[in-house]
């Protein structure tokens, strides 16, 4: 079984009167990944052909998902919306501006798709888990 180390560091010298420096580290014990993918988000709304980030039940629970919007920051362009395609109503669970990333767990039983405010926004993602 492979070991993957995921580390988050939050830093600021002026958010608080004292310096903020938070570092946390998780060891993910899992054998499989779909690889670090880089794809264009072409759809601009919920759509049957929207970019699939993860397909339900590809992995056993739990799995971890990393998603990054590679675009430069813009107030209204290139905003990526990640939604749960399995749940009724296709609820949006993440809104990523250019440059933003997310790292979160998934129970691996829901399909996650993405659309963007600007067609062609490039999204990177990776799922780490155990094949089933």
């Amino acid at each position: 079984m492979a070991t993957t180390i995921a580390q988050l560091t939050l830093t600021s010298s002026d958010l608080l009167s004292d310096t903020l420096e938070l570092t946390t580290l998780a060891s993910i014990i899992a054998a499989n990944t779909n690889g670090l993918t880089r794809k264009k988000v072409l759809k601009t709304a919920v759509h049957a052909d929207a970019l699939v980030i993860y397909t339900a039940d590809d992995f056993a629970a739990p799995a971890s998902i990393y998603i990054k919007n590679t675009a430069d920051y813009h107030a209204s362009d290139n905003i990526v919306y990640v939604y749960d395609d399995t749940t009724s109503g296709d609820p949006v669970i993440l809104k990523l501006h250019g440059g933003a990333f997310a790292f979160m767990p998934t129970n691996a039983d829901k399909t996650l798709k993405a659309y963007s405010s600007t067609s062609g926004t490039v999204l990177e993602s990776m799922v780490i888990g155990t094949d089933q």
Binding site: T3, I5, T9, T11, S12, A75, P91, K95, G99, F103
Partner: protein, 132 residues
């Protein structure tokens, strides 16, 4: 304005045939602006002395709608079986097992409370919001 950065690194020597080494940093901006987030909840740490179901960790009505808030949540349990399940209102994101963490953007729109469910007593959850 404050400048806060988040850096994620993901490393593994054995998940893939070649070593995996990923690192990316983002600056935490307000929605639609290149102005840094200015507020924080501070790093909170809660011990759930009994199992809880859908306890609100971050209430959407306590934060500005349509924001570009950022949330950090970590499960500091040491028993590997002690997970916390994270929901955005009724939509389950996934489970954080002992030592796992997550970092996501959050718009705090109505109906997006961040909720925690634990199945065991004594689970320690660490959390922080950096918000507008």
């Amino acid at each position: 304005m404050a400048t806060t950065t988040a850096t994620i690194t993901i490393n593994s020597s054995d998940l893939t045939g070649d070593a995996l080494s990923l690192s990316t940093t983002t600056t935490l901006y307000k929605a639609g602006q290149t102005v840094g987030l200015e507020n924080t909840s501070g790093v909170g740490r809660t011990t759930y002395t009994a199992a809880v179901t859908d306890t609100v960790l971050f209430a959407d009505d306590s934060y500005a709608d349509a924001g570009a808030h950022k949330l950090y949540i970590a499960n500091k349990a040491t028993d590997a079986t002690h997970y916390i399940e994270i929901k955005v209102e009724a939509v389950t994101l996934g489970r954080l097992y002992a030592g796992d963490w997550m970092f996501i953007p959050w718009d705090a729109d109505a109906g997006t409370d961040i909720k925690v469910t634990t199945a065991h007593a004594g689970v320690v959850v660490e959390y922080m919001a950096i918000f507008e």
